[in-house]
Amino acid sequence: MSNQRQASSASQVPHLSPAELSYLYTSLSLPKTPIRPDGRSPTQFRPLTAETNILPGTNGSARIGFADGTQAIVGVKAEVEKTILSNETLASERGAGPEPTDQEGSTTAAVGGHGSWVQMSIEIPGFRDDDALPVFLSEMMRESLVGAVGTDENSDMTGGLKGRLVINKRWHWRLYIDVLLLSQPLAYPLPLLSLTTHLALLSTKLPKLKSQGEEDPFFDDDWAVAEYLYPRSSPSTGAKISSSSSRPSFVRPPVTLLVISVGENIIFDPNREEIAVADAVLAISITRDTQAGHLRLLSIRTVDPPSRLTQPGVPNSENVNMLGAVAPTDDIAVLNPVTGEEEVPGVWRPRRGGAKRSVISEMVKTVLKKGGVGEEVLEGLEGVEVS
């Protein structure tokens, strides 16, 4: 049972006593000015350490360490693979000779690319490869990765990452993204893994193509002229450029952020204790993929809030050990306007989950707005020296 619980809520929830939970919840839900246990502002992230290109055998790699001691390494490897043509194309090829006359069938796969060309595996200590959590996480991250489609017509990134992987009609790149969580998953590991994957993809280089058109691919031996998978402005000045409108923006790999709501407040980069009392936990995936540099929302997923499984507190009026000690009028249950449940102030009630529409839309707005959290995170990652 305890194992199932861990897997379902996907984090090792610390065992907090009902009094602690109530204290935390009340502090975090104070109107407008939540008091976080570590004194951060609601949108402030804990400092993290990041480095790229740490694995020599890969096309791109990154390591990120969060302040709570969790660390992840991601390696990206690319390999050239022959594009399997669809049945109709093959049939027409057989009839008409080596050159396909009917372009329709092959172009869909060759120009648009295919989602299965990106393969992702996640390893989390204590979990098997086929456990629900790693499988679910990798699918969630892969989905937003291949789902991000570039709308910029005249760049390499037409069709997003999938389109970038196309070499020509018969050949494509296949990406293997290996994600390794080095520490125990203290909090829900998705944001860490997503940020590390983002950074690894930013640092990924593919060898320069020498062949042209439909020839069999032939690459430049010189690694120095290799091209970034995601085109970069110029690696050294990336951090200095502010988010002015003149800045050329490029398609970027998606980033998934964990956002929680406590009462009416929206809190970013929650630590374990904060997740433990959250009303709603959301994983929001964003990316930047247009010329104008707007952020795009890729997906929102709700995460089972661990506060559901906590131990409830006992109000003094119902505490048998305090019979006669409390005047019956002392504890009046008040209706919590956010959850719509009756609660005695100061007593912990496990959350039933769910959040108001206004709270969720506020969350999305905070992430996406100009100069909002999403831009800050993407810019911070852009600023990491990729060499």
């Binding site: 610390p14 006593s17 009094a19 402030q44 507190g313 005695v344």
Partner: protein, 349 residues
């Protein structure tokens, strides 16, 4: 600025080797911790393999010294000190996690039952055992005795012991250095990767004269209690005056029943009303302790108090610097990290 991304600090494990004198028999040295990590040079001398790292893999010879005894010299729960524990299991008694190798036990007979001193223990109390302390509750208790095998027996027969409320919990490495277990259970602060140097095993709660004291906080925070459990568990809460706690729950109780009322409030899990200013100061104190722990400074009344004063001073300094921008001044200014924590440490040491 919402996010800070730092370049990595190389955190190579440098095997720390304090003294060559063979003090492995002294009770206070945490032999088991050192065997697994920090005593690489010594282990290389005992066993005849040369090891370059402090990592031991299964099957590797740790020692072939016949003098060495398993478990000997490991941390024992010290006698007669207040500790904070998590209630875990129960059947006529509670099993509590005290961050020691073995769970301690708190028998039903070792608590004050509500209803006065002359109250007899009955079988109905055994059935209702969960109404006193339940799974997941935090309890402050005193070690009454330590058994042969190292398991401790606790009691709460005093008004200052009982269930904890109105505050926050912190787990740091205790004197005995059983930090590994406290980290895994409560996610202690000892596991911080930003910790400068490999100072683990240095910091932690030190057994000192006073482990429970009250701070008169600034910024309108009122009085705040700090309990430093000798096992590395720390509780910071709003100050609860004994009689005030009773009178808040009971207004029309005769003076003869007062003591009885006080004792019942130790089983309450309902928080009092706490104003935001107090919550803010509690958060500040918790961070001060974390700053101390992360830099390997021992935690006692003196260091906590000076860190708290230092954090207030740092706040004033920072406030002076960027006075022109009201909004950004308040944005996360209570978060003590990086430069702020270094400044605090400068002031403390």
């Amino acid at each position: 600025m919402g996010i800070t991304i730092l370049p990595p600090v190389s955190d190579d494990i440098i095997p720390r080797h304090e003294d060559d004198s063979d003090d492995s028999m002294s009770v206070d040295s945490d032999e088991d911790v050192e065997m697994s990590g920090l005593r690489a040079p010594k282990r290389a001398r005992i066993g005849n393999q040369t090891l370059s790292t402090g990592v031991v893999t299964p099957g590797e010879v740790v020692t072939d010294d016949p003098q060495w005894m398993r478990g000997h010299g490991t941390y024992m729960t010290p006698l007669s000190t207040s500790i904070i524990a998590t209630v875990a299991v129960q059947s006529k008694r509670w099993k509590v996690d005290v961050a020691a190798p073995l769970l301690a036990q708190l028998p039903l007979s070792a608590i004050n039952l509500p209803g006065g001193i002359l109250r007899r223990r009955t079988s109905s109390d055994e059935l209702q055992i969960r109404t006193f302390f339940s799974e997941g509750d935090l309890v402050v208790a005193e070690v009454q005795s330590v058994h042969q095998d190292g398991a401790a027996s606790l009691h709460t027969r005093s008004l200052k012991y009982g269930k904890l409320r109105n505050g926050v919990f912190l787990a740091v490495t205790g004197t005995g250095g059983s930090g590994a277990s406290s980290n895994s259970t409560k996610g202690g602060v000892g596991s911080n990767s930003l910790r400068p140097g490999a100072g683990s095993g240095m910091g932690g709660v030190v057994r000192s004269r006073r482990q429970v004291w009250t701070i008169n906080t600034h910024n309108g925070g009122g009085e705040v209690d700090v309990i430093l459990g000798v096992n590395g568990y720390i509780w910071i809460s709003k100050h609860a005056d004994g009689t005030a706690a009773a009178s808040s729950a009971t207004e029309n109780v005769s003076i003869t029943r007062m003591e009885e009322m006080v004792s019942t409030s130790i089983y309450s899990s309902q928080n009092d009303e706490i104003i935001p200013q107090t919550r803010r100061e509690i958060a500040r104190l918790a961070q001060c302790i974390q700053v101390l722990v992360q830099s390997g400074i021992r935690v006692d009344e003196e260091t906590v108090m000076s860190a708290y004063e230092a954090s207030l001073q740092v706040d004033l300094e920072v406030g002076d610097e960027d006075d022109e921008d009201e909004d950004s001044r308040h944005e996360g200014r209570e978060y003590l990290e990086g430069a702020k924590s270094r400044r605090i440490l400068e002031l403390v040491v």
